[in-house]
């Protein structure tokens, strides 16, 4: 597994030269965008000034103001689109290949909503679903696939319309190293943390999930609640060492994580509030800090294979 030291070396030796080329582009676009923003602000400012002096909102002035704002948005979108595509293939794609050259990257693609629902982690079906930055391929003996996902549920209409975010973050699918036929879902534990033994009773009555599976590892139980349809197979999957590894992974990320084991695959959802792998137009690319962040986010996802020991193939599944 590549470490941050390896990446720093790669950054200093070859990567920074590529970034220099892209940095020139970023500066040009950032300058043009600043001009567009300045123009929009000027026109809007003039309109506002006229309204203030006349002391009334003149309908003739509304049209240019709105038109100018919309044009600004369209130009911004048009100008950044090409840069974002270039950035993703040059920066994100390269970091992915640096971590593991057998992996592929597509900035536009993402894990579809059917697969997202197949994981059984989330019970609410999203009606607004989008994503990007799909990485897929075989690392070691394990097939993996992950992308950024934003799944939302919109309910009501008109003034009562409400958005509810089901999940936003990194969604990972890996081939699990053991055969199994059951479904096991590992969710963050909130009820037991809040209400103790009574919370556990409430969890066992959850009608949307399978049987409650109480495991022996107190630290794991402290962080997670496990549901499944087979008490023995769930323990076969969640061996004592895997429980420890999941706890370590949870501590390492410091994020809300969900896992499920369905159809001989492991699904891992790591919540993020920020958008992942997006360029920052008004910040220099030559700064190591943001590039390090991209590396760490990608490494976190690809590293799940090592963190959960998925490449150990000592069982009949190879």
């Amino acid at each position: 597994m590549k470490t941050l030291e390896d990446f720093t070396e790669f950054y200093n030796s070859t990567f920074s030269a590529d970034l220099n080329v892209l940095e020139q582009e970023r500066r040009k676009i950032a300058f043009k965008l600043l001009c567009v923003i300045a123009a929009v602000v000027c026109i809007a400012g003039v309109c506002l000034l006229i309204w203030r002096t006349r002391n009334s909102i003149h309908p003739v002035l509304i049209a240019p103001a709105v038109l100018c704002l919309s044009a600004g948005v369209v130009i911004y979108d048009f100008m950044t689109k090409r840069y974002v595509a270039r950035f993703k293939s040059l920066v994100i794609g390269k970091i992915v290949h640096f971590i593991d050259e057998n992996l592929n990257y597509d900035a536009e693609e993402y894990i579809d909503s059917a697969t997202f629902m197949l994981s059984k982690i989330f019970t609410t079906k999203p009606n607004r679903y989008k994503g990007d930055d799909l990485v897929w391929g075989k690392t070691g003996a394990t097939e993996i696939k992950f992308s950024e996902i934003k799944a939302e549920h919109e309910s009501g209409s008109g003034k009562n319309r409400r958005h509810h975010t089901i999940f936003k973050g990194l969604f990972f699918i890996g081939d699990f190293n053991k055969h199994f036929t059951c479904e096991t879902i590992v969710l963050p534990d909130t009820a037991e943390k809040l209400f103790g033994h009574f919370g556990q009773k409430l969890q066992s009555m959850n009608i949307f999930r399978g049987q409650l599976i109480k495991l022996e590892d107190p630290e794991f139980e402290n962080y997670f609640v496990v549901y499944g349809d087979d008490q023995i197979q769930a323990r076969y999957i969640l061996s004592t060492s895997l429980m420890e590894r999941i706890v370590e992974f949870k501590k390492k990320t410091g994020r809300v994580i969900y896992l499920s084991f369905v159809g001989s695959k492991v699904f891992v959802a790591v919540s993020y509030t920020k958008s992942l792998f997006e360029p920052r137009l008004f910040r220099t690319l030559l700064d190591f800090e943001p590039v390090r962040e991209y590396f760490e986010d990608l490494q976190l996802a690809i590293g799940i294979v090592d963190d959960l020991n998925l490449n150990t193939r000592i069982w009949s599944k190879q």
Partner: protein, 185 residues
């Protein structure tokens, strides 16, 4: 009057609930124990194949292989108490561990595809057996809690339910596997 009827119904429902939950917990223990049995039987079947495969290669461990064959025959015959069965299973687990370590000295055997497959299957089975034991311990703990906690303990004592023992390994099994010691004994 109505109040009495309501109280009566509530008490009756509580009794039914406690009674059913105790039976469900007892059956869960029985069910998991059955699975352990099934998995152990599967292990005995595999052992036959394993011994047949490694016999030709392992010249220095003939005695150990003979011993395992005898143990397997004894286990399959089914003329043993539960305690004897558990003890035999523990012994077998230890010897299997020893065989797997000894295999490092036989490069030909390590390259044998049939053996590799057997080894993987055995690993899988050992993991499944361990999972079933953990499930059994979890089921017994839930059952024991119900037998000892109020108010279910009242119903449990009326039904003659007693606490059960969880699976525990012997102190010598807690030590690391020492292949040399196994083969010398």
């Amino acid at each position: 009057m109505w109040v009495l009827i309501v109280i009566g119904v509530v008490v009756l429902l509580a009794v039914v609930f406690i009674y059913n939950s105790l039976i469900a917990k007892k059956n869960q223990v029985k069910n998991v124990f059955g699975t352990i049995d099934a998995l152990l039987k599967k292990r005995y079947d595999l052992l036959g194949n394993l011994i047949a495969t490694v016999k030709g290669y392992m010249q220095h461990e003939k005695n150990l292989l003979r011993e395992i064959t005898e143990m397997r025959a004894k286990a399959v015959s089914g003329r043993m108490s539960d305690d004897e069965q558990v003890e035999l299973d523990n012994k077998l687990s230890k010897m299997l561990g020893g065989i797997m370590v000894a295999i490092e000295n036989y490069p030909d055997l390590k390259a044998n595809e049939n053996f590799m497959h057997l080894q993987r299957t055995l690993n899988e089975l050992e993991e499944q057996i361990s999972a079933a034991r953990r499930a059994y311990n979890a089921a017994v703990t839930t059952y024991n809690n119900a037998v000892e906690m109020f108010p279910t303990n009242l119903a449990a004592s009326l039904m003659g339910y007693k606490t059960k023992n969880v699976f525990e390994i012997s102190p010598e099994q807690r030590e690391n596997v020492d292949a040399d010691k196994i083969f010398k004994s």
